[in-house]
């Protein structure tokens, strides 16, 4: 287990999501094992019918009706055996496999992608089992179960069962835009940030359906378990902004976003890949999100002469998009 207490408590906050991933993987493992064990015929039918059928139902004749599936061929058996091994490895490994240490060198997004591709084996395995079952699996066309499965190709269902990750990285290497493509399904990234970071690096990820937060302490992640959607949370140590954007808190950005702290001194130096201006602009973006537009409530109302046209436009857009009052 990683010794960092922040990592430990982040992993423990992610336990429900880890559990979901493990259950899905173990379902697939069971399916694979069942395919290996499946031998249609009287002895299986006898077992499946149970003791009540002993002496009452002829399993041989019953098997003629019930034996739907065919047994595996040699290639099929090999690939299913391979899948069993891979899934046993995943299920046998500790929760450390959901921890990605990045360190000084940077390349957080790449490390995350690589880990997701590896853990995506559980998804590939499920797909290949389907193919084997239909006798349409082809190694050249579909690849080996151990090939790794890049996140870009995951389906919505697979993204909903994404394994959560705890990523420990240097503050200077935190680039939210690199992470943006991963904000989907039920992906959960908890970033344990060492050293100073830009003041609001995650502000750019705020979107209506994503839980995005910068917090002091991984113990604040308790509410994450019930959230049904993508989440990126940075656990930070420095003077950066602290905020929580929780889609469950309301329909408008200013209802969903709670800013607990803003840095007192505006950023003046480049940090990692973010220039000082970009960092200030992140903060401005955060501020803009949290301000309720004064006229959004009465876009059609009278006396809106002093309204900011942008606010009116926003209010109108929200209404048109059907997002108003809709979760």
């Amino acid at each position: 287990m990683p010794s960092d207490e922040r990592v430990v408590s982040a992993l423990s906050a992610l336990r429900p999501a880890i559990g979901r991933y493990r259950v899905a993987a173990s379902d697939t493992l069971e399916r694979a094992r069942a395919m290996l064990a499946f031998e249609p015929g009287p002895s299986r039918t006898r077992a499946a019918l149970g003791a009540f059928a002993d002496g009452r139902i002829d399993p041989e004749r019953f098997a003629l009706v019930s034996s739907g599936a065919d047994p595996l061929d040699v290639t099929g058996r090999e690939v299913v055996e391979h899948i069993v091994e891979l899934l046993e490895d995943i299920l046998g490994a500790s929760d450390d496999q959901f921890f990605v240490p990045v360190g000084q060198a940077g390349g957080a997004a790449e490390a995350i992608r690589a880990r997701l591709a590896g853990l995506g084996t559980a998804h590939t395995a499920a797909r290949i089992l389907d193919l084997v079952k239909r006798h349409s699996y082809d190694l050249l066309r579909h690849g080996s179960p151990s090939d790794g499965y890049p996140f870009e190709r995951w389906t919505a269902a697979e993204r909903a069962l994404a394994p959560p990750l705890v990523v420990r990285l240097d503050g200077s290497g935190l680039d939210a835009l690199e992470l943006a493509p991963l904000v989907d399904g039920c992906v959960r990234l908890v970033l344990i940030v060492d050293g100073p970071a830009a003041p609001a690096p995650l502000a750019r990820l705020v979107s209506p359906g994503a839980l995005i937060a910068q917090v002091d302490d991984a113990s604040l992640l308790a509410g994450l378990a019930e959230f049904d959607g993508p989440a990126v949370i940075a656990v930070m140590q420095g003077q950066e902004a602290r905020f929580v954007h929780d889609p469950r808190a309301g329909s408008a950005p200013w209802k969903r976003l709670r800013v607990d702290r803003m840095p007192t001194v505006p950023p003046r130096k480049t940090l990692g890949s973010r220039s000082a201006w970009q960092q200030r602009d992140d903060l401005a973006h955060l501020k803009a999100l949290v301000e309720p537009p004064s006229l959004a409530h009465s876009a059609a109302g009278a006396g809106n002469g002093h309204a900011d046209p942008t606010d009116r436009l926003t209010a109108w857009l929200i209404e048109q998009s059907g997002q108003a009052g809709v979760a």
Partner: protein, 634 residues
């Protein structure tokens, strides 16, 4: 037995006679709410653990809280235990512990007591200040004295008040202690069982109950001049002990079904009480629906969308579910329906046993709706039948009705611990795409079976309908299609029948009389057959597990006996009653079915006493039925 020895050392009665018997039947009867059932359950469990065959059955008054001290209000429990296996509740009670004389009179009037029964009777009523109670006591004792009962008055209340101030509480544990002494039960095991029974209560409650039990033990040791020994044979295999409804619930867990929809109805509800406690952790949902109809609909909706689901009910509920069962047959949606039968028609006898739902279960649906009906005969079979029922329902996309009854639902009996198998569990849903062009009801013309796409399977989309439909599930009014689809739904039941084996015969394979039974009467019938054969009668029995389709070979089996007679707990006109002729006589439900299916002259002996059939009565019926048959007595 160190604790027992210590107690015995204190007060050894002058001369204790020890009777060694192969079996004994005891009852503990009281007003409702005095804990007689708990006492009996603990005693029964201890007997089973020590290696006796045991059958326990609750005596339940029709009202939830009848007024105290009335004959009809008798509430309690009967425990029949023996050196060998016990398969039914027996005939009469050999020893009774009664908490008042009125409930005792109630049992006496029902003929529940053996002519030489030993009665341990609470005597505080004899000195009750209320003159009416005193008079009732005197009258009852005068009435009972005219029989061969041995009545021993016991100062239960006086004794219990030394431990607990509430005279209504604690008598049950005192009674347990007396029984423990009389039958020389292990006190350690009794205390262990008390601890289990009160596991949700405090240590103090446990301690008080143990004290009361020991008090009863000590009192009996000091005051009784007899003990009874029912030798035990330690069990050869791991056993479990439970009632039939718990067994059904556990069987459902073992079958891997994940949704049960029900509406409360006696005597089926306790299946759901059990499931309500544990189903969730098994990944299951117990849905208490707004009514019986909705319960069937929810189960069918779930089955349509995935794994086979089930519903639990009793007669009146089965009637309400009729239309939905017809839909499930028409749409070939698998469904398991558990019917724990009670006395009918209408509200009938909610807490009492009857086997009157057979025909309703078989042919209750308007239209041609062939499906499967099966009946477990023992508590063990209650468990295993659910596994088989799910498997048949899924394989044949059909409705399977399991007919249990109030006798099995409250009866408690040890049976071999099931060796669980993964193959019993419903497999995970296969949501892989359906081959192109595959239609939902592509009947195999030989088998009548078809595929069943499940929502979530790409390419399998169809609209299930209760209207007559073709292979693509398109509504079809064409006469040819209706003829064909009806044939297919019938054919698969014939195919199932072809996989069934002939029923076993209990006794010789030919003779004078063949008794045919189904459901919970098996133990009593076979015991009656044993007694009849012991006295030289050429009687055998067979017990039908499948009622639809019927097991094969019946006609041939029947032909080897001079007479065939069903024994059932449902109504038939007794021959010789006013207006009853051979032509208009209404027969037992299984008899009707067998006559229709086999063209054999199947007679019946049926009763609706609101209690399980006693083997002695069946024995007498067998004797009557064999009179004048050519083989006669050996």
């Amino acid at each position: 037995m160190t604790a027992a020895a210590a107690l015995l050392e204190r007060d050894v009665p002058v001369a204790t006679r020890v009777l060694t018997l192969p079996e004994h039947t005891i009852e503990i009867v009281s007003d409702s709410g005095e804990g007689a059932q708990k006492c009996g359950q603990i005693f029964g469990a201890v007997c089973a653990k020590m290696g006796n065959g045991v059958w326990t059955v609750e005596i339940i008054p029709a009202e939830i809280q009848p007024p105290p001290r009335i004959a009809e209000g008798a509430s309690g429990i009967r425990i029949r235990f023996a050196t060998g296996p016990v398969t039914n509740w027996g005939d009469q009670t050999d020893l009774v512990v009664a908490f008042n004389e009125q409930v005792l009179v109630g049992r006496h009037l029902l003929g529940a007591l053996a002519s030489d029964a030993i009665i341990l009777l609470e005597n505080s009523w004899a000195s009750n200040p209320d003159p009416d109670i005193k008079a009732a006591w005197d009258q009852a004792l005068a009435e009972l004295s005219g029989y061969g009962y041995r009545i021993i008055e016991v100062p239960m209340e006086e004794q219990c008040l030394t431990v607990d101030d509430n005279p209504r509480k604690g008598k049950n544990m005192f009674a347990l202690g007396m029984l423990a002494y009389i039958y020389d039960r292990s006190l350690e095991r009794i205390e262990e069982q008390i601890a289990y029974a009160f596991r949700r209560k405090s240590e103090a409650v446990y301690a008080k109950n143990v004290a009361l039990m020991r008090l009863g033990y000590g009192w009996a040791a000091a005051n009784l001049d007899f003990r009874i020994e029912i030798p035990t044979t330690p069990p050869q295999q791991a056993l479990v002990v439970m009632n039939g409804n718990e067994a059904l619930g556990m069987g459902a867990l073992a079958s891997g079904m994940e949704l049960c929809a029900m509406y409360p109805i006696t005597p089926a509800t306790s299946v759901s009480h059990y499931l309500a406690e544990v189903f969730r952790k098994f990944g299951g949902i117990l849905h208490q629906a707004e009514d019986e109809i909705a319960a069937a609909g929810v189960a069918i909706g779930a089955s349509y969308a995935g794994k086979v689901a089930f519903t639990i009910t009793s007669g009146p509920g089965l009637a309400l579910k009729t239309e939905f069962i017809g839909l499930a047959v028409m749409a070939e949606t698998p469904l398991v329906v558990i019917d724990v039968q009670r006395g009918g028609p209408s509200t009938g006898l909610p807490t009492k046993v009857e086997q009157s739902d057979l025909l309703a279960a078989l042919v209750g649906q308007p239209g041609d709706a062939p499906h499967v009906v099966m009946a477990p005969a023992t508590i063990e079979e209650c468990f295993h039948s659910v596994v088989t029922a799910r498997q048949i329902a899924e394989t044949f996309h059909t409705v399977v009705v399991i007919l249990s009854d109030a006798n099995l639902s409250t009866g408690v009996q040890p049976f071999p611990r099931p060796q669980l198998r993964k193959e019993w569990l419903a497999p995970e849903l296969d949501l892989s795409p359906v081959e192109e062009g595959r239609r939902p009801y592509e009947w195999d013309p030989r088998m009548g079976t078809s595929t069943r796409p499940v929502p979530g399977q790409p390419g399998g989309m169809y609209t299930l309908t209760g209207l007559s439909h073709d292979e693509a599930s398109k509504v079809a009014y064409d006469a040819g299609i209706h003829q064909h689809s009806t044939t297919m739904r019938s054919r698969k039941i014939a195919v199932l029948q072809q996989t069934l084996l002939r029923p076993a015969i209990y006794g010789d394979h030919e003779g004078d009389l063949l008794v045919v039974g189904w459901g919970s009467t098996k133990g009593a019938i076979e015991e009656a057959i044993d007694r009849a054969r012991a006295e030289g009668l050429h009687a055998s029995s067979t017990h039908l597990t499948f009622l639809s389709p019927l097991q094969p070979g019946l006609k041939e089996i029947f032909s080897r006996f001079r007479k065939v007679m069903t024994v059932e707990i449902n109504y038939s006109d007794p021959p010789g009653e006013p207006f009853i002729t051979e032509e208009n006589r209404r027969r037992g439900q299984l008899a009707m079915l067998l006559r229709a299916q086999t063209l054999c002259d199947v007679d019946c002996w049926t009763r609706v006493p609101g209690e399980p059939l006693r083997p002695g009565l069946i024995h007498a019926a067998i004797r009557d039925a064999t009179i004048g048959l050519a083989g006669g007595r050996a």
